[in-house]
């Protein structure tokens, strides 16, 4: 049921800010120096339950979380077992938990890194006021996953755009939480340069593109380069020039804004008490 894949990217493929890069290197260091840390330096005496390395990569879409998961796997020389929540979830009661157990067992056996993309579907808050069989099933799945994380001795990576939705119990069990951000101007320029292939004739002012178009992710820049190349080829140009790249990135931005209004949204239910504290007796509008 579960297919292993080789990591496609390594750390040199990532263009990230210093803080994110440093945290990724910490994760790799943690894995590579376990004997030094837990035996030679005795961390095992103070932190006995550290057999599982769980890492949460969170941040806006297109900022490199999936690439980073591959890069971690490559750096620690392990294959990846990429999991979609749809593959885990079953309409039959109890089957979802069984699938999860099977997944962890397979990963342990094959010495693979488990990678859950869109992990909020799996790690979101448990239902406190259960009113349906679905609520019971959701909570049962969460409990099984918590138990699996407690006993698992391998590496597990989660990626999400919505860390706000995570259940606190999962947050506690995940050792590293690494934030991914939209690139700043300097990183954007590097991304523009990186995504233009060496062989592609191109005449563009990357510094200008980086300065003029902020709020874009690495993935947006990659898409823009691709679209610009296709348009230039269609027009039988001999090279991809600035107007093509600008048209393409503007188009990417338009789609993005139309889709989300440039914002991320998450919803959580709060108690009457918390609500009263927050709204402080204000009148209804």
């Amino acid at each position: 049921m579960w297919e292993l894949s080789e990591a496609k990217y390594d750390l040199s493929d990532l263009i990230l800010d210093r803080s994110t890069t440093s945290q990724l290197l910490d994760v790799i260091s943690y894995f590579q120096n376990r004997t030094l840390l837990f035996e030679t330096w005795g961390l095992g005496q103070r932190f006995p339950q550290q057999l599982c390395l769980a890492v949460n990569l969170y941040g806006p879409p297109g900022t490199g979380k999936t690439m980073a998961a591959h890069a971690i796997a490559k750096a620690i020389s392990m294959p990846l077992l990429c999991v979609d929540y749809a593959e885990i979830e079953s309409k039959y009661v109890g089957e979802t938990s069984k699938n999860l157990s099977d997944l962890f067992h397979t990963a342990q056996e094959k010495q693979a890194v488990i990678f859950f993309d869109e992990a909020d579907a799996l790690l979101s808050k448990r239902v406190t006021n259960m009113t349906s069989a679905t609520d019971v099933s959701v909570n049962q799945t969460r409990s099984v996953l918590l138990n699996l994380l407690n006993s698992y001795q391998g590496v597990i990576l989660f990626a999400t755009n919505f860390i706000q939705n995570f259940d606190a119990a999962f947050l506690r069990r995940i050792k590293f939480h690494i934030a991914f951000h939209l690139p700043d101007q300097v990183l954007r320029e590097r991304l523009w340069r990186m995504y233009i292939p060496d062989k592609m004739p191109c005449q563009a002012d990357f510094a200008y593109l980086a300065a003029a178009y902020d709020g874009v992710s690495g993935s947006d820049i990659a898409n823009a380069v691709f679209s610009a190349a296709v348009s230039a080829a269609r027009e039988k140009e001999t090279m991809v020039t600035q107007p093509y790249l600008e048209d393409a990135i503007q188009s990417v931005l338009r789609v993005k804004q139309a889709n989300a209004g440039g914002v991320t949204v998450s919803v959580r239910r709060i108690s009457e008490e918390e609500a009263q504290k927050k709204i402080g007796g204000s009148k209804q509008s």
Binding site: D17, S19, T20, P60, Q164, A179, H181, L182, D184, D214, G215, G261, G262, V263, T264, V265, S266, V267, R268, R269, I270, S271, E272, E274, A275, K278, I279, G280, S282, K283, Q284, S285
Partner: protein, 117 residues
């Protein structure tokens, strides 16, 4: 908390330069956020609190919107990233001061701006 009526009823915040631009841009974002909340939760949106948080080289504007659906309260969080260059210096300094990942509550300041607009 900023009441929804105040948010939608306020005039443009006067002034020039980065400060007025920041507040007016923030109001536009909050209005959009409330509309989004209305679309998502299909309930009455009572009001909004607004925070700013440093994340790497940029900042995140966070609106926490309070609504009631079928007798249950909900908090809908709408966020967006803005570059540091768009944040006024005093807010920038305070956000830097409170530390990475911490949220600076700027609700009262925005409320004052809206009331005087």
């Amino acid at each position: 908390m900023i009441l929804t009526a105040l948010l939608f009823g306020a005039a443009v915040i006067a002034g020039a330069g980065i400060v007025a631009a920041f507040w007016n841009d923030l109001v536009a974002f909050l209005k959009k956020a409330v509309e989004k909340v209305r679309a998502v939760v299909a309930g009455i949106v009572y009001g909004t609190k607004v925070f700013i948080r440093k994340i790497g080289e940029a900042f995140k504007e966070i609106s926490r919107n309070y609504s009631k659906v079928d007798d249950h309260w909900q908090e809908t969080i709408v966020t967006r990233e803005i570059p540091a260059s768009k944040v006024p210096e005093d807010i920038l300094a305070r956000a830097n001061e409170i530390g990475y990942g911490q949220e600076l509550d700027i609700t009262d300041e925005l409320e004052m701006q809206l009331e005087s607009a």
